[in-house]
């Protein structure tokens, strides 16, 4: 098996704070890879470096054979992403959100229209094609974001806590789509989650990161064997300790509040 993502000694410093301290890992092409860790462990920072949103301070990384630092656009064409926070435009319809994505990725009009219809059917939103995204539930938005991430036929899809805040039914549905995509289209899946049973069930390979360092890698069974525990949750706690982490809160939380206020006022 070849690796579609190769990360070696990857480091990111914010001033004097080292968020990611020389991590190395590989993701197999066509694999399902879970990237786990407590809040503030360096997961999102690593994903941002892989997806060209942040520049690494040191180390090497390759995504689909390209270096995000020098070949950003080639890397960008290689992956689709579902962000932790919703990144749809609420004031546009489902179709328009996908249409705009297709234009940005240079998908020709005919292919674009055909794929949008296919993808909306895949995520069961065909009947909501022309509805505004602001009227969608959390689960529908997630499904639409997945459809959007697939529109340009990426080789890899990044899912950053895709099931956060979703009910068990929707989560179950979502993972079936993802597994189906992986099996039928061979798309490599790279995801993070705080639900350990999801990771155990879906991921073929897991890496656990804490305090900016990878502390364990292997399959769910291997991690359980290594820590002598009976569930991935316990394995995770054995590896990372049970102390509660404080994630640096800042502007984002204030803005979440402000945004709620503003969108409330608008109605």
């Amino acid at each position: 098996m070849t690796s579609i993502i190769e990360v070696k000694d990857l480091t990111k410093k914010f001033g004097s704070f080292e968020a990611v301290k020389g991590v190395s890992f590989e993701v197999e092409e066509g694999g399902i890879f879970a990237f786990l860790g407590p809040n503030g462990a360096g997961k999102s920072t690593t994903i941002k470096m892989l997806t060209t949103l942040l520049h690494p301070s040191a180390g090497s990384l390759r995504v689909n054979g390209f270096d995000p630092r020098t070949d950003a656009d080639a890397v960008r064409r290689s992956f689709g992403i579902v962000f932790q926070d919703p990144s749809l435009d609420d004031d546009l319809t489902a179709f328009e959100n996908l249409e705009f994505h297709g234009i940005l990725y240079g998908v020709p009009k005919e292919t674009r229209t055909k794929r949008i219809d296919e993808l909306l059917a895949l995520v069961e939103l065909s009947d909501r094609r022309d509805s505004f995204v602001r009227d969608f539930s959390g689960g529908m938005k997630r499904r639409l974001e997945i459809a959007r991430g697939l529109l340009h036929h990426p080789k890899i899809i990044f899912l950053d806590e895709p099931t956060l805040g979703l009910d068990p039914q929707t989560r179950n549905h979502l993972w079936s789509y993802v597994e189906k995509l992986n099996a039928e289209e061979g798309i490599t899946i790279f995801f993070t989650t705080h639900y350990m049973e999801e990771a155990d069930k879906v991921a073929k390979k897991i890496a656990v990161i804490d305090h900016g360092t990878i502390i364990a890698t292997g399959s769910g069974a291997e991690l359980k064997a290594q820590t002598n525990t009976d569930s991935l949750e316990n394995a995770f706690l054995a590896l990372t300790g049970s102390e509660i982490r404080e994630e640096a809160s800042g502007g984002l939380d204030h803005m979440r509040e402000a945004r709620r206020m503003w969108s409330g006022n608008r109605k």
């Binding site: 060209t52 992956f79 992403i81 962000f83 940005l104 803005m255």
Partner: protein, 248 residues
């Protein structure tokens, strides 16, 4: 090109789809036109300065444009974390195209808002000196809108939260508006005030609008256009630079 088009179209669609926002942002200009235009009209006339509503209307158009365009530009503070912008940041499109499309879109919307204020002003009694001046006045509106959309994006690229937004509204937009000669004639203003107004790009925008809509300009059309173009170019450049440095 795809990136520019998408970002432009998004701004325009959002504008067309929020009639409440359009109506809401016409309220303030209407208030200024009615309260000041009618209220100070007799005083202005008694001072031998002519019809105040005619004088005021281009200034209030300028006000609507600066408020709308800076506000639009600053929306990227929200979009940075929540909206469509993050999605565009990982798209294989240059940051320059995204910034430029956004600025154009914001400017189109702000200029449209300015045009609506012009219509409103005509409805309550404003009479342009000639109807032929309307078309070039619209071009000036677009130029002013482009300038302040770029200013909005430049500032917003450096801000992380909304606290900064209110600061900018109070410390940048309000002074730019009040010191621009939108409300009072610069020709008879005290020297100190005139000096300040000369450093305010909105002064030149309002002056150019007056040239086409009322037939008189304090600085002269040539200087107005030169300054507007130069300052727009500067902020487009600076905004593109700052925008390209955003790390989400």
């Amino acid at each position: 090109m795809g990136g520019i088009y998408v970002m432009w179209k998004r701004e325009v669609l959002r504008f067309l789809r929020s009639p409440s926002r359009i109506a809401g942002s016409l309220g303030q200009p209407l208030l200024f036109l009615v309260a000041l235009g009618y209220g100070l009209g007799p005083v202005f006339r008694a001072a031998g300065q002519g019809n105040y509503l005619d004088f005021l209307a281009p200034g209030i158009i300028g006000m609507a444009i600066i408020f709308t365009s800076i506000f639009n530009g600053m929306q990227i503070i929200w979009d940075r974390q929540f909206g469509f912008l993050k999605e565009t940041m990982v798209a294989p499109v240059s940051r320059l195209a995204i910034m430029f499309g956004r600025t154009l879109g914001g400017a189109t919307v702000a200029a449209a808002q300015g045009a609506l204020v012009l219509i409103m002003a005509v409805l309550i009694g404003f009479r342009p000196v000639s109807w032929a001046g309307i078309a070039p006045a619209l071009v000036v509106m677009l130029l002013v809108a482009l300038l302040f959309s770029a200013v909005g994006i430049t500032v917003a690229s450096k801000l992380r939260d909304m606290q900064g937004f209110h600061l900018i509204m109070n410390l940048l937009v309000m002074p730019l508006f009040f010191l621009s000669g939108a409300l009072f004639p610069l020709s008879s203003a005290p020297q100190a005030l005139l000096l300040i107004a000369r450093f305010d790009p909105l002064s030149y925008g309002v002056d150019a609008l007056r040239y086409f809509l009322t037939g008189s300009a304090a600085f002269g059309l040539g200087l107005d256009l030169l300054i507007l173009c130069a300052v727009s170019a500067f902020f487009l450049w600076l905004g593109a630079l700052f925008f390209s440095q955003i790390e989400v």
